[in-house]
């Protein structure tokens, strides 16, 4: 089985991010790391290939400056190879342009049975790319998967809902987005880390994928960030003097939140 995992390399969330004042886009010049939300997809893919008794995991990623640090992490976990799309023309790409690029990269990966992606990235949060990719590829799209099983040309997932989960299935090939926490991502082993640097990374441009320059990047984006504003400061909480009955206020508060 050949599973492709879409992985995003993002600025380290531990370092405060900065927006470009002109374009309002996130600055991505420094070292990038594997988005933690993608490590679940990588782990899931490795487990599915193991279960299938053979095959391999290919990564696809789009990142500036030929960045491979995050890819190396996923390769160290056990993925076999990667396709990296890196091109100055891609700067400013919106979710749809990104989906076009990733869909072309998936086609470049050859015969693919399944594409896994995170539900959303930790730095962009649009959450639309996996479904857009599926549409461009003409493949079924299953989202919010918390469990994924593949058998007999069919993928079956437990799709997370507010109340529980739905069981949905699709024929392969398909695109599945997985939720964080579906599996426990493995730690890369030292052997894996040493092997990762010799694994092939196919670095390509938008033109290599047959994408016109005006279909991607700022030129192709149909979405503009018109304004950004800092998040409002946290407001002071409500103080309640305990008169022996204040637990009822706590219960009412939790009921309001629909926690209880």
């Amino acid at each position: 089985m050949h599973v492709v995992v879409c992985v995003k390399q993002i600025p380290d969330p531990a370092v405060p991010g900065e927006l470009d004042p002109g374009t309002h886009a996130l600055k991505r010049e420094g070292k990038l790391i594997l988005d933690e939300s993608d490590s679940y997809g990588v782990e899931m893919a490795l487990q599915l290939v193991d279960k299938a008794g053979g095959g391999e995991v290919t990564l696809v990623s789009m990142a500036p400056n030929g960045e491979v640090s995050g890819l190396r992490t996923a390769l160290a976990m056990g993925a076999a190879k990667a396709i990296l799309v890196s091109d100055d023309a891609l700067a400013g790409s919106d979710a749809l342009s990104t989906a076009k690029v990733l869909a072309k990269a998936v086609e470049r990966a050859g015969s693919v049975d399944l594409v896994l992606a995170a539900t959303e990235s930790s730095d962009g949060y649009t959450g639309t790319t996996p479904a857009q990719m599926a549409e461009l590829l003409g493949w079924p799209s299953l989202t919010f998967a918390k469990q994924v099983d593949v058998a007999g040309g069919t993928v079956t997932v437990q799709r997370q809902t507010e109340a529980g989960y739905d069981v949905v299935e699709a024929t392969l090939p398909a695109v599945v987005s997985v939720t964080a926490g579906v599996v426990e991502p493995r730690y890369p082993s030292f052997k894996g880390i040493m092997a990762a640097k010799n694994k092939p990374v196919d670095t390509v441009t938008a033109a290599d994928l047959g994408l016109a320059a005006d279909a991607v990047g700022w030129a192709g984006a149909r979405q503009r960030i018109t304004q950004v504003a800092p998040a409002p400061a946290r407001e002071a909480g409500e103080r309640i003097e305990d008169d022996g009955e204040s637990f009822q206020r706590v219960v009412a508060y939790l009921e309001d939140l629909k926690v209880v």
Binding site: R72, T73, A76, Y187, P188, S189, F190, I193, A196, K197
Partner: protein, 321 residues
Amino acid sequence: MRFAFTDDQIAFRDAVRDLLANECPPAVVRAAWENADGRSGAAWGALAEMGVLGAAAPESVGGLGLSVLDLVLITEETGYAALPEPFVEHALVAVPALPDPTAAAAGTEVVTAALGGAPVAPYAATADAVLTEEDDALVLVSRADLRVEPEPGVDGSRRPGWISWDAAATLGDAGARAAALDRGALGAAAQLVGLTRRMLDLTVAYVQDRNQFGAPIGSFQAVKHRLADARTALEFARPLVYRAAWSVSVGDPDAPVHVSMAKALASDAATLTAQQTLWCHGAMGYSFEYDLHLFMKRAWVLAAAWGDAAAHRARVGRAVL
């Protein structure tokens, strides 16, 4: 010549750092003070699975053949986490010397060590074997031949014990013993650097959070200067530890002197930092429920282990004069 760690060495460090952040938070260190064997539980197995415990074993016996230089940043991270395990004794001192390190690499056999001083080994009562010395030779004593008398320690997790034995297997000559001793001192120095960083991180966060006279106490010079002194000591010690790791790895004839310089300065930096960070915390620093003491007490123990600062200064002195 490139004086920087390789991408692999940085990747090893990051992998171990992530593992320890998950598997060895302060709650695990605290639990090791109270539990039966003083050890971490899951972290040891996870390190074995990652390949860390057997990394220093030669490739001919199934190891990765990594050098002390490859492992120094990892060892520093085990100090930062105050990993309650005989990590230095096992992974740095014993594994490269064992004829068959298979079980030690898998973590199923735990080897501790007592070299260069009193026959006292951490985790002596539960280890499967002890690497020690007999007539200047490097020897291995297995559990069956070992007698242990527990000794109370200031760090509740280390479980030191006096060892004596009836029979031991010789692993190497005086040269092997000296090399093992240097690996131990270097490993302790690296852990002390990690502990120093951790005590500083905890304290820098605390003094920014704790307000007095209407301002964070970290804004007062009397507090800032103490932490600046500690940071300076750390920055002087750290390059010596990395240099010593390089010297040991390439077999520099001056490696023992470099190890002693590293251990002396790392011991001093950690001891100074323990004192300064304790003061900056005020009474909080003394409380058992707060985490600082877990790192402070480990620092005190390691500053005295594998030769204290005075012993290593004396060795540098003998080499110079």
